[in-house]
């Protein structure tokens, strides 16, 4: 049993990793077919994980209703909406125009006026949270914090029309040589140089870490994905 639970997954991961690495560098048959096949397998498996997600959701909410846990009513609502949305989307519009996924169908109505509205509402909470986080966190405690604060102020004002007009008034209108001090020009400078440089540095580090972690997984050093330690 230990072989199937511990050793066999490691062997599969190792062989798959090595074969896929070879397929990346060797375009000849059969490696190109392995590459295509693996890509198709990956697409199919990803699609099936959606099924697992739905099954897991149904199980956990059913358990909640069965045990009468706090908030079980919401689980009931979840089931109702799940069934209605699935039925409306799966039945083709040839049966009745209210079904199907074309514009004007119930499925699209749920998507437009329930899903999109709810998701956009939650996303818009960011505006409030950014304001409160900015008020709380942007303090000139250290030199680093001050630099971050000044950069944030320049970019925030430089990205809006008032900022562009205001900075043009106090720079370009006085002298064309002061154009480089315009907030939109400074904003562009910050985005193109310091920000891009720091992002590249972080990307480099992440890429190297990804290579190391991938090698660890392929070589069987990293086994957490199996749900346990050595």
């Amino acid at each position: 049993m230990d072989f199937f639970k511990r050793k066999l997954p490691l062997v599969i991961v190792f062989l798959t990793g090595v074969v896929m690495m070879i397929s990346f560098y060797v375009p000849h048959t059969p490696f190109n077919q392995i590459w295509d096949g693996a890509s198709n397998w990956y697409q199919i498996i990803r699609s099936f994980t959606l099924v697992i997600a739905v099954v897991s959701l149904i199980r956990s909410h059913y358990r909640k209703i069965k045990t009468g846990k706090q908030g079980w009513g919401y689980s009931g609502i979840m089931f109702f909406v799940l069934i209605v949305t699935a039925v409306c989307g799966i039945i083709p519009d040839s049966v009745h125009p209210v079904f199907g996924n074309k514009s004007g169908s119930l499925y699209m109505w749920i998507f437009d006026y329930v899903n999109t509205a709810a998701a956009a509402t939650v996303f818009s909470l960011l505006a409030f949270y950014i304001a409160s986080a900015a008020y709380r966190a942007f303090r000139v405690r250290t030199i680093d914090a001050t630099i971050m604060l000044v950069a944030a102020l320049i970019v925030m004002i430089g990205r809006v029309p008032w900022g562009e007009q205001f900075s043009e008034l106090i720079t370009s209108r006085i002298s064309p040589h002061l154009k480089f001090l315009r907030l939109d020009v400074l904003t562009s400078f910050f985005l193109n140089y310091p920000t891009a440089a720091s992002k590249r540095a972080i990307y480099l580090g992440i890429a190297l870490a990804s290579v190391s972690t991938s090698l660890r997984i392929i070589l069987g050093i990293e086994r957490t994905y199996m749900g346990g330690d050595d």
Partner: protein
Amino acid sequence: MNIKFIDKLLKIDRRIIFVLVVIAIVIPILFPLNLPVQVTDEVRGVFNEVEKLPPGSTILVAFDYEPSTTPEMEPMGIALMRQCFDKGLKVVGISWLQQAPGNAIKVLSKIQGEYDTKAAEGKREKSLVYGEDYAYMGFQPGWQAMILGIGRDFKGTCKVDYKGNDAFSLPILKDIEKLADFPYLICLHDDSMINHWIIYGHEITGIRIGSMCTAVMAPGIYANLNAGQITGIVGGLKGGSEYEKLLKYRGAATSGMDSQTVIHVLIVIFILVGNFAYLIKEHHLKKERMR
């Protein structure tokens, strides 16, 4: 200055901040400011790339944004579709997010309705025909594997469009064999999928890419822009408003810039007030310690 007032200011209830934010956003919507928009080079990078395509070219548009970012992304999508169809370009859409097809269908339906009206009013010779002027391949699972697949064989990977039509039967895909056959790809994204399109699309097939993204994503993509991996960035509502200005109309993105301007100024005021209070408090504490 009364130190108790400063303390209250530093520990102000978040709800007061939230109310001020609501006021700052709602008032410009009710009373538009009609602020002018200046176009940046990054947005021109995408616009000019589409402009220079000859009529009849087919571009690929990846609708990869979720419903939550619809208010930010949809104006860009609509502006892009208008530019493409007014220029006589053809558009093939694709998505790799499960939630994205709803957004794509919404944009395409809206544009279809617009052009139907234009054709009925005689402003256009004919309306758009699905399958000839545009097509949407729907949700294609597999993420990176999907991009690799269409890089090799577009119709074989997609197989059917979102309506179930065989990809091989669509007239718009007649001359499209692989990803490199599209002269340009525009990715409407709200997450880092642009990186995958760059790695598996641009670097392997050489397809030119433009990015239309949320404002949060834009700073991270400048590195790709500087490296020449993408031609331009249309970032957030600001980018959308610049794109609308280039197309010479005032849409949802430009209208939204009024609120964005006021809220930015408000946040700057918050930061300045907060730091002012903080410095006063620090000075007071220093004085207390020296005593």
